[in-house]
Symmetry: D2
Subunit: 166 residues, 4 copies
């Protein structure tokens, strides 16, 4: 506690908006700073948007960028917002980056924060910020109120829940 | 992870409602089960309402009831929703109850969950559930994205933020 | 005032939901009854769902069904929720149905009601219910706080606003 | 249609906020301009805040101010947001002000707009704006989806609904 937490934004459902002209979802700006204010969060947090992409369209180059920033940041507590569809892929990539002294937590949302009362985003951010402060160094996924080591989890694509791999 | 979390409801701003006839705030039922569903939480949680009171009106008998239930529950992870005004009083009471093997987290909200987009409750519940899973046994307050050992914290009554005692 | 208002639901953005598994919008049940309760509406209203379709996919047969129900209802005040993309097409169809004693108002939303605080749906329903009570018999579109006779209006597909035809 | 609508803000539950430090309701700024934007309203509207008071505390001098502004405005369509408790008192006062060419609509809310999804305010504003455009000159109260001539209505203080006087 007291150390700065680095938040990296990569997009995902968390930050999607509804375009009322086209009827499509798209990205504008991240909601994270506003969410932290609403959560009355007093942690020392630096928010940086790395990209705004649907995780199904995330490229190897995008993951290199994320890895590069995780290497470079001086913070030992890193929270990454990320689309849920390939969250485990990025988690695996980062786990192999040899970031041995850092606690890296990936989180996201199944319903955009902009969709108000139905979104799980605000809850997920609250639990992810908590876990990133006190979990041992390593790479984790935080969804559904739980944390999962990167190699012990999969997304159930039918239900949208994250499940422990046995 | 995997162990059941015991949630005890005591009321507080978190669960207050607006009575549109009288213009006053009051208690009806707790929102916690609905909040857990919205958060898509898959933790094993047992929710039990002990009381629904404004923490300024909480009596020594009320604290005995809370302590008694903390003793009795078989869970080692206990989350208590509580009004913020006397949260530290109850935390101190529980710390002296000799519940040495249990992690007890008190959390609350500055703005009622029922007031929609302005409430901090959903965020606080997310972080409190995370902290209660992995903090060492002890009594803690979780607010503003942070955890505080029970004897290292006070509420700033002018700003509504919880601050570390030096 | 005092006469029953007939509300016919046809779908449209107003009633769309977000499917968090597929990331697509879809229809489940209409929100209108819940909206009327939230609006504390004490009008005598009968709500009937005729279909749940995106108005871009509305067929001539669908419009026949709507016209048929407008003929059949004994109410002289008819409110139809409808997608905005072809609202004027259905309005024109109904205008030629020779429903000379009835006030028919079509309304909709640019943002789904389920998307919470950003939706215009609740406002539009309030103004549409007001207009349908007191406008002269005829077919109207109510959007953006205004009413437009069916043959004096077009949707600006770039901005999403309805504009008066000169 | 096309003529400017004059909106006068006087406060009332509609515009109340929750003070999270004191736990009391209070007034800050009116939400009306933001509400009109959310409603995607394209009417020509001038919004002017006359006062921000709980209508139980509205004085004869306050009503004189409201009456004076209703006289002075060049608009023939006047919408007044007002607390519900003494809405009929102000309506009666204005009815006796000899504003014979003006349509004056008073509306309000039972639940503050700031309380999100539970508020009736957005709906009431939608219907009040519709009624003020097309009702005959006179003084009206618009609540619960209905309009009431000023001398034909009372608030049921037990239920919060407005009822027609027989």
């Amino acid at each position: 506690m007291g150390e700065q937490i680095q938040v990296f934004i990569t997009g995902g459902t968390f930050d999607k908006e509804y375009n009322f002209v086209s009827g499509q979802l798209y990205f504008k700006d991240t909601h994270i700073p506003g969410i932290l204010e609403r959560g009355r969060c007093t942690l020392d947090i630096d928010v940086r948007t790395l990209m705004m992409v649907d995780s199904l369209e995330m490229t190897p180059e995008d993951r290199e960028i994320i890895g590069h920033h995780c290497q470079k940041t001086q913070s030992r507590h890193i929270l990454i917002t990320h689309g849920t569809d390939t969250m485990t892929v990025t988690a695996e990539y980062l786990a192999k980056e040899n970031l041995t002294e850092k606690t890296i937590v990936l989180t996201g949302a199944m319903i955009p924060y902009a969709f108000g009362n139905s979104s799980d985003g605000f809850f997920n951010l609250g639990s992810a910020l908590a876990f990133v402060q006190i979990l041992e160094p390593g790479v984790y996924i935080v969804m559904n109120g739980r944390y999962f080591p990167w190699n012990k989890v999969q997304k159930n694509t039918k239900t949208g829940y994250f499940e422990e791999l046995s």
